[in-house]
Subunit: 630 residues, 2 copies
């Protein structure tokens, strides 16, 4: 059983209701191309005896022996299913007690066998005792994952489509008792969002609304369960899914999910289902360079770079220089600025002074030189760089290619005394959140050597914020806890992360904007803003994703905001601001969030808080957990 | 300035709007009997200059020098008031920036002077930036308390009583923008329930509903602010409060609050207000032995006793033996049982065997002997006690007073092999939550030497639960964090505590009941129950208070449940089960809480969880933070 699926093959499992011959079943599934199987942990026949209370008197074993299969088969190929009659939340205390014993016995056996996962079907809302017991097993160090098997849409809601009673319909859709996401949400919340608790999501004949599907996309789906009845038969007699199901599964396939086929084989042989799913999977591969670049980084937390305090490494420069979009757009911006600045008539007499501040290994110098050549304008370039290691690369290029046209300056732009003033100041100091790598402070410093009518490229940038649900990210952040730091440190730090397994709770909104050059009498780079998001369905807030866009020059824009993302640009992943505790939100709620950008003489940092629907303490007060060093 | 008020004197402060002569004002207040004064930190005249932006250019100091008073006066007698024009939440960025500077300046000066508290009047709802700034100062280690001055009832609501527009009235009362408790709740939540943030609660001419007053009683009220306009004049010309205000202030006086008198002196001299309040305070003293016994223990957290695992100390026995109610009721119960058990005709022939299990230093032995004498029945007493130190006391009394009628047995009741069977089994093994000192397990063990028709005193007990709001307790629990333990350890442990500064969110409900002797085929002392509480106004849940009552025999009952508390009995304080994070609740919410009593071979423990209105993770899974040793 493959627990992670980074290739473009579908990892498929085959479900069995009962298994008279476990070796034969396993071999058959394997020959049909399946990667794993789902078997009941205990023989269904054992049920009657247990319910009657005689299980303890029964002679012999309560299930098959572990010797039937090799240990590695148990560990890799078998998902164990709990007996469906287990009901530890029964109103009847005898059934409850019996069920608790049966559950303990089956879970202990799953542990004994070393099964990778245990699956249980949730049939109704109130399963708090079950949630507690499973949570406690996970807390006590059980090794298996727990897959909660649930339909995407509750059977009761599906049935209601055939009713004419409008009120009934509304009640079913509005009430948490009927919505299976609500079942799941209550269950996993009682289980404290335990990382090893995942979803085995049954794809239903009726597909819920796009919004509801999007909400499922923010959940830890371990596998999709497909009933064979979901498949139609094509002209050649092979099983195929209808278009809406195809699309649904393709979009879910972008998450790291596996598939389980369950039910009677209705198309001759089980292998045809597996082959069809493999075919679907191969068609989900993307050609976007961002997707290719980001593979393997999905939902992986990185600490934001601090290029001002730390020097970047050669490899980091190399990766970012390969961006197919960014430097093209810079070149277009410089090109446009040069044409606006120097009339055709002056092209041979006038020389524009271009200062690249934070030149790194030179991509913006190249962009400037290319732009000048293309525009047929004369320029003189200063390449200012504080990292002495990158300066080595700059100087080598200067000697070999650029000659007198370029002057390399090994200096922090805030300290440099320029010999002349610039017409154009070019920089790429932006982080995932725009200002979070201290572009405002750096450019304020560099502004003193820009002519009064000079141009800054970029001339402005804006950060954006979006509320996000993601159990995955919440768990990743929770794991970042460090011993010697403040207990909340990891919840008060933003992370750079390629967001995948998440649900955006509302449209993205702009937050802070900075303009360059800054002509204010007193330059103030602190900011404070309150944003209000309208929540359209019940959900859980785990934090905020952050983005930016920037106007390089006039209409030339770079953006990582989802709605306007520059296609193919991979230089920036989004940023993620967590919150201390998941916040349950309800449809219709107004989510009011406050963000501050604060500055001291040494540092810049963000603080954030929520005041609606529920007030939440200030995060990162005084920058106690995270600051950006000046 | 007295920061704690355990005596029955009112600690009074006098408020000044402006203070031309600070020494004179202070001396005057002191001579009038006041304990402290409230002065503006900065002279009001400084305002105009600051707003105009010229404050930095102003020559000379921005306020009076610290040399005017002795350091100890600043430290003890002066509450500093922030300038009323400070508005760091202004929509106007210039006003906001200016206000931030003014606020920082005044707070820094308050720190410099070492003032014990800083007071600020909250005039509207949205003060998130102010909350952040004050929270951050407290986080950074400011030494002063912050008193938020707020009216009990918003002026807008008070005004609305005179409106005829019903809809308007409802809107004002329902909307959080108008209710001052909502202002406070948002503010202190953003401030993370910071312990040094307290309330200076202005008593308004109109008193809010009883429910709202009760909710204020769960808040950290540092002082009550009384305007002189609130006072009427009695026949002799002295200031007095009207009856409703008297009652309100008397009930608030049970909390550890001070009083501030503000406004123009309208009754000749300020000392009359102080004298009147002292008079009110003296009339709040109680005669209930529980209150006298509990003084000094208000809201003080204690770890529950574990008398089964640990041996109690002599002093502990001594305190509990003084309870004026408990042993009387036990004696009445034994008396009743003896009369029922031995007919008058048998009174000389029949001897009832009474076993006191857990006899301690003998109070129940004495109760049994007294009951027998009073009932004119013959008894033989076995006094079984596992604590060898208490056995010393038992044996001394046996030799000196009791003689052959009493046999002292130095043994754990669960291990004892009794020479004969008992007619009556008497025990006092109950904790604040009934079964939490493992009475069920002990009596199950002792039951083997009770005759089939024997009587257990007590014959049953029931635990009770009530949802509670209390910033005070939340902060006390938060401070219990221990370094080497699980991060949530202190939030998953129940505490025994004399609850004072709290608000009960709903009526108390029964939870688990145990009966003795237990005649079930298989004795099972695990329990699981789900309770549902109806929430009638917006509030914050910090945990659950727990109580118990017990039927000793027939209609003889002991109870610490607030609604039925045995008057004068002080042997048990309530228990408090915290929750991990404060939970904001809204009027109309259903609060659904799950409680489990779980047992292993070594331990008994509770787990708890909430599923409505918002699901909350299981507390104390597997007893990881708290168990009771068998």
């Amino acid at each position: 059983m493959k627990m992670a699926n980074s290739s473009r093959r579908a990892s498929c499992g085959l479900d069995f209701c009962s298994v008279p011959d476990i070796r034969g079943s396993l071999q058959g599934a394997s020959e049909a191309g399946y990667d794993f199987t789902c078997f009941p942990i205990v023989h269904p026949r054992f049920k009657r005896e247990f319910i009657s209370g005689k299980s303890k008197e029964r002679p012999g074993a309560f299930t098959r022996s572990d010797l039937i299969l090799a240990g590695s088969d148990w560990n890799n190929l078998i998902v164990g299913k709990l007996s469906p009659y287990i009901d530890v939340d029964s109103e009847d205390p005898v059934v409850r007690k019996e069920s608790e014993e049966a559950l303990n016995q089956e879970l202990a056996y799953a542990s004994h066998l070393g099964l990778p996962a245990v699956m249980f079907t949730l049939r109704r809302d109130n399963q708090t005792n079950l949630a507690r017991i499973l949570h406690n097993k996970m807390q006590a160090g059980s090794t298996y994952q727990i897959w909660l098997h649930l339909p995407m849409e509750s059977p009761a809601i599906a049935a209601s489509y055939y009713h004419s009673d409008e009120e009934d319909f509304r009640r079913l859709h509005g009430g948490s008792e009927m919505n299976t996401w609500e079942w799941w949400n209550k269950f996993r919340s009682v289980c404290n969002f335990e990382k090893r608790l995942g979803l085995a999501l049954e794809v239903t004949p009726d597909i819920p609304s796009d919004e509801e599907v999007a909400r499922w996309m923010g959940e830890p789906i371990k596998c999709l369960v497909l009933s064979t009845t979901l498949f139609a038969t094509n002209k050649k007699g092979y099983p195929v899914l209808l278009r809406p199901h195809q699309n649904l599964i393709k979009s879910l396939a972008t998450l790291d999910v596996q598939v389980v086929i369950r039910g009677a084989i209705m198309h001759g042989c089980s292998k045809y289902y597996q082959q069809y799913l493999d075919h679907l999977w191969q068609n989900t591969s993307h050609t976007d360079p961002l997707v290719a670049y980001a593979r393997g980084y999905e939902d992986y937390l990185q600490c934001p770079l601090q290029p001002l305090m730390d020097n970047l490494e050669s490899q980091t420069y190399e990766v970012f220089e390969k961006d197919p979009v960014k430097y093209n757009e810079y070149q277009r911006a410089i090109y446009g600025a040069l044409l606006d600045m120097i009339m055709y008539e002056e092209k041979d007499s006038k020389v524009a002074v271009v200062m690249v501040v934070g030149a790194g290994r030179g991509p913006l110098v190249r962009a400037a030189l290319n732009a000048a050549q293309k525009a047929d304008r004369k320029i003189k370039v200063y390449a200012v760089e504080k990292n002495p290691n990158a300066v080595v690369t700059l100087q080598a290029q200067q000697e070999e290619f650029w000659g007198d046209q370029v002057t390399v300056v090994s200096c922090d732009m805030r300290d440099w005394n320029s010999p002349e003033k610039a017409d154009i100041l070019v920089s790429e100091l932006l982080g995932s959140f725009g200002d979070n790598e201290l572009s405002p402070e750096c450019l304020d410093g560099a502004q003193k050597f820009l002519k009064d009518d000079g141009i800054s490229i970029p001339c402005s940038y804006t950060s954006y914020l979006c509320p996000v649900q993601s159990s995955k990210l919440y768990n990743e952040v929770r794991l970042c806890k460090e011993k010697d730091k403040h207990a909340l440190n990891h919840f008060e730090t933003p992370y750079v992360v390629h967001l995948q397994n998440r649900f955006q709770l509302a449209p993205t909104q702009p937050l802070f904007t900075f303009f360059h050059p800054n002509k204010d009498a007193v330059r103030d780079n602190t900011r404070y803003k309150c944003l209000s998001f309208k929540i359209s369905q019940n959900c859980v807030l785990h934090g905020f994703s952050g983005y930016f866009d920037t106007v390089l020059y006039k209409n030339i824009i770079l953006s990582i905001v989802p709605e306007t993302h520059s296609r193919g640009m991979f230089s920036w992943f989004p940023i993620f601001f967590p919150i201390r505790e998941p916040l349950q939100l309800r449809s219709g709620d107004e989510l009011e969030v406050h963000f501050w950008r604060l500055c001291s003489k040494k540092n810049v940092w963000y603080e954030w808080s929520i005041t609606k629907p529920i007030p939440v303490p200030v995060h990162n007060p005084n920058g106690r957990s995270y600051t950006i060093g000046l």
